[in-house]
Amino acid sequence: MTRFWVLKILRTVLTLWFVVTFVFVVLRTSGDPVVALVGADATPEEVEQFRQLWRLDDPLWIQYFRYVVQMATGQFGISYRDGREVIDIIAERIPWTLILGLFSYIGAILIGVPAGIIAAIKRGSAFDNLIMATAVFGFALPNFFLGILMILLFSLSLQWLPSSGTGTVWHLIMPAITLATFTAGTLARFTRSAMLEVLDKLYIRAAAAKGVGYWKRIIFHALPNASIPLVTIIGLNLGELIGGAIVVETVFAWPGVGRLLVTAVSSRDLAVVQGLVLIMAVTMVLANLVVDLLYGLLDPRIRVQN
């Protein structure tokens, strides 16, 4: 048991180290970081000054070592765009992405999972087809397009919902729906196939032989078993959610990290980009760790070892 966790944590740390190294390599190979940071207009003296300031004249491995230490301690540097600590800039955006992300994530789960379950137990019915068609619709529509359509309908024509920005829960509705649509579609499809697989198992038949009622079989026997792979996919979907947030936050002028990334990338604000990449990676890796934890809790075959 302990070994299981030690391994998981070791893997997590290694993954993060990979990410840091990846960012370092990208920064060093994409061009002279000094030129990127001070601009092509800078005089040679300025460049030299900057090089010394950031100690970019050290051997690469020293720079690398220093870099890993800095990243590990959250020193992402100063934004070249507005001169503030990157960690502060990101910190003020995170709550917004969390609000949006959680809201749409929970919404997606609440819609996608039950829809998938119903589709599975009504397999082949018109209902199943309808749900699956809707699910495919959910992820076949580019989310920025869906977002703009919603703005035009709900803000411009009907004037029911605010068009963009933040302020009230009403502001949250359209971006959350846009973001949740994709995830809900994926979840519904996956839940369906996970349920179908479990429903075929002998223990479900054995439960029926015991006289367990239909819905009881579904809810108490099939669902807990189907939830094991489901938890994994829900965890993996967090990444897609973050990816989707990049676009959705831009459409709805939502001041989260996704939009920050877009602005930082387009202004080549290296320090912010690397900070964001690392923070998102940490989030994802931690989410995966939580998934593993849940997995262990749900599945006694992992939890209890002889």
Partner: protein, 525 residues
């Protein structure tokens, strides 16, 4: 309908609310607030480092100029009115300015000649290592800036310069507080700027929002609006929906094709001004890259003659602006403007083809660097022009890049740019000499696209020194002719700025894009 916001604001946690701005002050409670949806905010709000279309529209709300251009009394803004300076007089190479007394910066300190002098000082603008190096362009010829009293100061120039007051109507005329500026440094100042304007900056997050709050100690009396939030809303659809549904009081940057549709909504007023500014592109006339075919002027002539810019402008702007047939012959130059000036390189595909035939050009790819979504309609025009050049056998690839740093990265054969024409109002000094002369970034920067010809330099010097109108006009025409002989660039159209606001607001949009939310420019009705 009306309950949803009330309910909504009750439900959303206080935590999220407090991040938008500080709580309202009781004494300002009776004044309304404004929400303005903008397409973008510049990262830095220092007066010179922060020069951009997106910052200029906000600047006059928290900075004051020394001298003001009065667009209320004069359509073209050619009347110079006192603002922070109340009086000015020229004596040979020296200009004496008297400052308004009792003007306060937002931090409560009084503005004095020390601040004005610092604002124009070599250490800030034109010395060896100035804080805001772009200031050099605007202070050419400055020799000495010195306080002569608490409220008086002098500017001495190398040669007599009749245009100093008009130069102070621009970016360099925004007075900054010396003490605070020196304390925090230019970068931090750009993030938390302080001026003497009617509003003070309370929140500035460049990727997101800028909040201005009424500065009730403003020398001209309290401003009409309690709080102005400039929020970035990148999508036009969201800006438009927000204006129509009255979430926003103002929106800016409306695509030309959408103006008509927007105007159809009730209570929406569209404002459009022609700005003293021209999107353009520069030909890279230098042999860098080595095989640059554009070093041959015939190819440049051909390319100019292949462009049907009038049709493009008509298509893209619906006749709201126009293409200057002869460069630098701009209508805003009053007496300098001559509608009958001959067009040297008119639209003529046959002539263009003939010119291409005279060159060694063999269809090599010419790279045109363009900044993404920077000048309205620029990319669309570029797409059209690329096709028109294809007609005459010139192969141009328009590369849309995210920012100017990428645009400035060689190799390129052409690059986008824009040229303001208002540094000295009513005089072609800026576009012709300042922007192309020997100190211009276009001829000095690492990414420079041309080396001014000796003749251009010689004619330019003559033009720079000419103070008498007739003499100056003659010099200007000669200089312009030399420029056209070389044709290192192409002026496309006069910029159009637009914005729209809700009903219940009376608003005068300044032609340079400034959105002044005070005085005679803005009223609630």
């Amino acid at each position: 309908m009306f309950t949803r916001r009330e309910v909504g604001s009750l439900i959303l946690g206080a935590g999220a609310l407090s991040m938008v701005g500080s709580l309202p002050k009781a004494n300002a409670a009776d004044r309304p607030s404004l929400n303005i949806a903008v397409d973008n905010l510049w990262a830095n709000m220092a007066t010179i480092n922060g020069i951009s279309t997106t910052s200029r529209r906000i600047f006059p709300n928290f900075y004051d100029n020394l001298v003001d251009r009065d667009y209320i009394k004069d359509e073209n803004g050619l009347i110079f009115a006192p603002k922070l300076a109340t009086k000015w007089e020229q004596n040979g190479t020296v200009w004496k300015f008297t400052l308004r007394e009792g003007v306060k910066f937002h931090d409560g300190t009084e503005m004095t000649a020390e601040d004005a002098v610092f604002t124009l000082s070599p250490e800030r603008l034109w010395g060896a290592k100035p804080f805001e190096p772009r200031g050099k362009t605007f202070t050419a010829g400055f020799k000495r800036v010195e306080a002569t009293g608490k409220y008086t100061f002098e500017i001495e120039t190398e040669r007599p310069d009749p245009n100093i007051p008009s130069k102070l109507t621009g970016y360099i005329g925004f007075v900054v507080p010396k003490k605070y500026y020196m304390e925090v440094g230019v970068d931090a100042f750009g993030q938390k700027p302080i001026g003497t304007g009617p509003y003070k900056v309370t929140t500035f997050r460049s990727g997101e929002i800028m909040v201005l709050e009424a500065f009730d100690d403003y020398w001209d009396g309290p401003p009409p609006v309690k709080q102005i939030s400039w929020k970035i809303v990148p999508e036009f659809a969201a800006r438009m929906a927000g204006l129509v549904s009255k979430e926003f009081d103002f929106i800016v940057n409306i695509p030309t094709d959408q103006e008509a549709a927007l105007e159809k909504y009730q209570g929406v007023t569209l404002k459009r001004v022609l700005a003293d500014n021209y999107p353009a592109f520069a030909f890279n006339t230098r042999p860098d890259p080595e095989d640059n075919p554009l070093v041959d002027p015939n190819l440049r002539y051909a390319m100019v003659q292949a462009i049907d810019m009038n049709a493009i402008v008509q298509a893209l702007f619906n006749g709201t602006t126009e293409h200057p047939a002869v460069p630098f012959n701009f209508k805003e130059y009053g007496k300098f403007y001559d509608p009958n000036l001959p067009v040297k390189l008119p639209y003529d595909v046959a002539a263009a083809k003939a010119l291409v035939a005279k060159t060694k050009y063999k269809g090599e790819k010419l790279i045109w660097h363009i900044t993404r979504q920077y000048y309205p309609n620029y990319e669309a025009a570029a797409e059209i022009m690329v096709e028109q050049w294809r007609e005459i056998g010139v192969n141009v690839e328009a590369q849309i890049l995210d920012n100017f740093e990428l645009v400035y990265r060689r190799p390129y054969h052409m690059m986008n740019m824009s040229m303001s024409s208002d540094f000295i109002p009513g005089d072609p000094y800026q576009p012709l000499w300042l922007d192309w002369g020997p100190t211009a970034s276009r001829s000095t920067a690492t990414w420079k696209t041309w080396d001014p010809s000796p003749k251009f330099l010689e004619l330019g010097k003559k033009f720079d020194e000419a103070t008498d109108f007739e003499e100056r006009k003659k010099a200007y025409l000669a200089l312009s002719e030399e420029w056209q002989r070389i044709t290192p660039g192409y002026y496309m159209w006069k910029s159009v700025y637009n914005c729209a606001h809700r009903a219940g607001i009376q608003f005068k949009f300044k032609p340079n894009g400034e959105m002044r939310i005070y005085g005679d420019y803005f009223k609630f009705v």
